[in-house]
């Protein structure tokens, strides 16, 4: 009588998660690269104007880490799509796995990367301030909003991470759909741009789109935002899980 190894889903998922952290460490360096580029781009300032008459000349520059955050959003989307591609999916199937354990490990991996991405995006803002402080000297800086309190940093980190989570689950679902059928390579972008174009023409659709965005972006209560983000993430990830549960591996 052969003795079968009994294995628990939780154990395999944990094992796979650790394996992914090691195996996909290359993706971490892409974050470092993206954020370095973002910091360099931000040094020029994100806005400002010049004004002057005669010999007096004003030059005002606004500095913010919005480029860093935006590029980190793009990075999160890309990483989550990459995780669903064939070589990554087949990589799971080399060792013990099923679709559920694979997806759950991917989820845990994405949460980890969103936390890292969120933290480094916020700290990137601090780096930007430091570089500016030492390159221009303290005198030229309007101190309003220049100094970050720990609470502001923490809030920035939490909110950025929540948005990263939303974006990467969206990316994950897109990736899963594309893996399911290549038709989605055409459908998803057409849908995205189609809605944008329609919103530009039709006031009703524009209103709906704005409401949908406001639902997430203009949420003043942090607790409500957290609840919304977690709920949406869970639903979207659940859909991705259901779709991918029937896909074949190592084809």
């Amino acid at each position: 009588m052969m003795s079968l190894t009994k294995i628990r889903l939780f154990y395999v998922t944990k094992k796979q998660y650790k394996y992914k952290l090691m195996a996909y460490s290359g993706l971490f360096w892409t974050l470092a690269a993206v954020q370095t580029i973002a910091i360099l781009l931000s040094l020029g300032g994100t806005g400002g104007w010049n004004m002057g008459r005669g010999t007096i000349l004003f030059s005002i520059k606004t500095l913010s880490n919005e480029i860093i955050v935006l590029l980190t959003f793009l990075w999160a989307f890309a990483v989550s799509v990459i995780l669903t591609t064939k070589s990554y999916r087949d990589g799971d199937a080399v060792f013990v796995s099923n679709r559920l354990s694979s997806n759950l490990a991917n989820g845990a991996f994405l949460i980890t990367y969103c936390l890292i991405g969120g933290l480094s995006a916020v700290l990137g803002g601090a780096v930007l301030r430091l570089i500016f402080f030492f390159s221009t000297g303290g005198l030229g800086i309007v101190s309003q909003n220049f100094f970050l309190s720990p609470t502001e940093l923490a809030a920035g980190f939490a909110v950025t991470t929540l948005y990263l989570l939303l974006i990467s689950t969206a990316g994950y679902l897109c990736g899963i759909l594309v893996q399911c059928s290549k038709v989605f390579v055409v459908i998803l972008p057409s849908l995205f741009f189609g809605v944008l174009i329609l919103a530009g023409r039709d006031a009703g659709i524009r209103e709906m789109l704005l409401q949908a965005i406001n639902f997430l972006v203009h949420e003043s209560s942090f607790i409500m935002l957290t609840l919304k983000a977690i709920l949406i993430t869970a639903v979207v990830f659940g859909i991705a899980l259901l779709i991918s549960n029937r896909t074949e591996v190592r084809k």
């Binding site: 052969m2 190894t5 395999v12 090691m22 195996a23 199937a93 080399v94 679709r99 559920l100 190592r250």
Partner: protein, 300 residues
Amino acid sequence: MNAVECRDLIKAYGKLKAVNELSFDLEENKITGLIGRNGAGKTTLLKIIAGFLQKTAGEVKVFAENPFNNLTVSANTVFVDDNMAFPQSLRLGELLDEAAGFYGNWNMGLAKGALDYFSLNPRHYYHQLSKGMKSTFNVVVGLFARCSLTIFDEPTAGMDAGARKDFYRALLKDYLRHPRTIILSSHLLNEIEDILEDILLITEGKKLLHMPVPNLREYALGLRGKSYILEDMANSREIIHISNVGDGYAYLVVKNDITEQERYKARLVGVDITAVTAADLCVYLTSGKKGGIDDVFNKN
């Protein structure tokens, strides 16, 4: 108990049936050779058994469970082919450590020993290895994972003769130490014949035969003699293969149901009766009714 059971298993890609109403059982702790020509459906069948692909119809059971997307089956199965997606960022030694974490029966001592023997540096990266070295590393993982169901799909691709021989020997030795169900697919039957217990021969997704190797060796006989005499003898027999060897002589392979008396008669009329090796027989059985590659040259 059976490790693998298939009943009327079908895997269809559109109109093409890669696996076509296949039924067989694989007893546990046996080494079975899955033999067939290119495109016979070997890999598809093995990937269904390993739980990677979904069947279209019929039934497939591995350890009495449906293998597709099944964690228990995955934990007790290792599937080795020449397409193992190992990550680029891990060294060979680290890959072994990871494999050890996934497979309960993993034997690290032997795996490391084998790596050393095959001159695979644990500090090297998988993607830097040559094709043959990759295959060697793959079989090391497959062998020492010691899974109840171990599947090797053309594992020796690119390996030199020495490495292949060492692999077959290691396979047999470790199997004796730690018996398990092994499926070895290959088209080089003569190389693996000696380590196989059973042979499952398939063609165009269908089963041709499934029997112990010794039975296969006695399954058919080769007759060599004058064409017209052989034609006479061939009547009312199941002909497996026929070919002209020139000069009015022919070579005929028939099922081995010739009586002593017939043997005697055959010898009198100058017909040589010889055994047919398992490897040759498999080629004859799977080459279809087309008469072989010679026909292509004769007709054109």
